[in-house]
């Protein structure tokens, strides 16, 4: 930190102004989302675009939203929660386990695994979606929850983070000691390694959770039935209605991002930890 560098007052004021203007740029669409979800179509055009209309039509828009989605709205949010949570939890375990293996064991194919994971980090994942669709279709897995959960569990970035963390925060001596005490490998992993890697696991979970929630192409290709749609896909369908009630769509969008915003604000320090591990080591 450059703590001791002298700064002039004008520099300080200018910095604050620049940072604040940029902050407005980043937060305005979210603020407007909040406004729009309370307005009727007419108010959207006539009222002040930067403030609420005289009447707050939160309830009407909500009713339109539910009616339009034929009652599926909360199911879609629930689906997103289910897919993201299951993929996040399973993906985290799988990633940490693989990262631990690479960091602490020597096995044939280890170097190749590291290479493949690096390649996987740089592969444009969306390009894999059509190939994945071919395979999942021939396995009869399309239009099932597995078509979303299985691909979302696989995170090269997660393994990469798991590897870095296992290398730096699981002391080899501790494992050796536990082995001498007669602990089984599984027990060492579950009782010691997972505990030591808990912060890393939160980070990996967050990344997989958000990536799954935000994914659009995968469910768009894989899913047909309304009952299985995640919220992203549901809202996309709503958007293409002829003459929509914008406020209702915006309310759907707002409710569809709220869980992410809560997760984001609650666990924000773990994001930085994850990106830091990637950036500093990288």
């Amino acid at each position: 930190m450059s703590a001791a560098l002298p700064t002039r007052r004008s520099t300080k004021v200018l910095t604050i102004i620049v940072l604040s203007v940029v902050l407005i740029y980043f937060l305005f669409p979210i603020y407007w989302l909040l406004l729009a979800s309370t307005k009727s179509n007419a108010e959207m055009t006539t009222s002040n675009g930067f403030w609420f209309a005289d009447e707050i039509r939160l309830k009407e828009n909500y009713q339109t939203l539910i009616a339009w989605t034929r009652g599926h709205f909360w199911r879609w949010v629930g689906n997103s929660l289910l897919y993201s949570t299951v993929a996040g939890a399973a993906g985290t375990l799988i990633s940490v386990s693989a990262g631990y293996a690479i960091a602490k064991f020597r096995f044939p194919g280890r170097t190749a695994s590291v290479g493949i994971i690096s390649a996987g980090l740089l592969l444009p994942i969306a390009l894999l979606t059509i190939p994945m669709f071919i395979v999942f279709h021939s396995l009869g897995l399309t239009d099932t929850i597995w078509a979303i959960i299985l691909p979302s569990c696989v995170s090269p970035f997660g393994v990469f983070l798991g590897m870095i963390y296992a290398d730096s925060s699981v002391p080899t001596e501790l494992i050796e000691a536990a082995r001498i005490d007669g602990a089984s490998e599984l027990r060492i992993f579950v009782d010691m390694v997972l505990r030591l890697l808990a912060p890393a696991m939160v980070t990996i979970f967050l990344f997989i959770f958000v990536a799954t929630w935000n994914n659009f192409l995968l469910p768009l290709m894989m899913l047909n039935s309304d009952a299985l749609k995640p919220i992203t896909l549901g809202l996309y369908g709503m958007m293409s209605y002829f003459d929509p009630t914008y406020g209702a769509v915006m309310q759907g969008a707002l409710l569809g991002v709220l869980p992410l915003i809560v997760l984001f604000l609650g666990l924000q320090r773990f994001w930085q930890a994850g990106l830091a591990a990637g950036a500093v080591k990288g």
């Binding site: 930190m1 450059s2 560098l5 924000q268």
Partner: protein, 330 residues
Amino acid sequence: MSIQSATAPPTVRQPRRRPAQRREGMVGWAFMAPFALLFLLVFIVPILASVKESFFRQVAAIDEGCANPLYGCTTGAADEVVTSSFVGLDNFVYVLTSEMFWSGVGRVMLFGAVQVPVMILAALFLAILIDSTVIKRVTVFRLGYFLPFAIPGVIAGLVCTYLYTPELSPLSEALGWFGLEVDFFSTDLMLWSMANITTWTFTGYNMLIFLAALQAIPGELYEAARIDGANAWQVATRIKVPMVRGAAMLAVLLSIIGTVQLFNEPTVLAVRNGWMGPGYTPMMMAYNTAIGGQISPSGVGPASAISLVMAVLAGLLALVYILVQRRLAK
């Protein structure tokens, strides 16, 4: 190169005698197995399958007199009337000679050539401002800038579609005060309206990458600079920027990869802007070729060929970037 050095082998235990080694190998594989199996299912097998499929095309056998029998005239039983036939390199010829494909590629290249530098420089600039201790309370800014990353691309696209629609938009309203009339959806501006959405979403993410790299710079460097009488600007340009080169490389690579697969935002914007067509970006073209028969020839064969050609292009772009970066570093 950053990724390689990042994955340099971590601690490896001392070589032992054979039985112990074998045991270690087996245990290691046991921990590796779940990921390896899923990776096989989700990465390797699909890649192989799409390579195979790219040499085949589906032909509808019956239902004559129908313009597009595969999707238009048969219902439900499409699988039964379709036969797969080997077409050699036809799918690749189709992709490489397709005007739609190349104009899509041209679009994302232009998009990336402008959007990636703007975003990365903005992220670097903001990270340096936040890292400088000119102001004390930075959490609000750090969180606020990163918050858009938590908004799914589809929802960002949806919100921005309305924000860009002249009748609804407070932006148009505000521009109107200055007598400006801007159509964000015009053919000239669409690409940049879209660039604005991705910049909005990912600048904060990249800023955090830079911030992490900046905070890893050892304090002695600043001490030395201070003794030498450097001012804040000099510290930023002579120490901070060179020290985050690795992070910048990573951020740019990830952004290039993101650009190649641009899909969500244009797909959402296309709902209100039919003129964008089914192939505004190559990924949209791949999707619309594979599903729904909007683009002829349709089916997974031609779509696989598009995916493969794009993967090769992405690899080439990354390679060129890495080579240029290396040469510049010397």
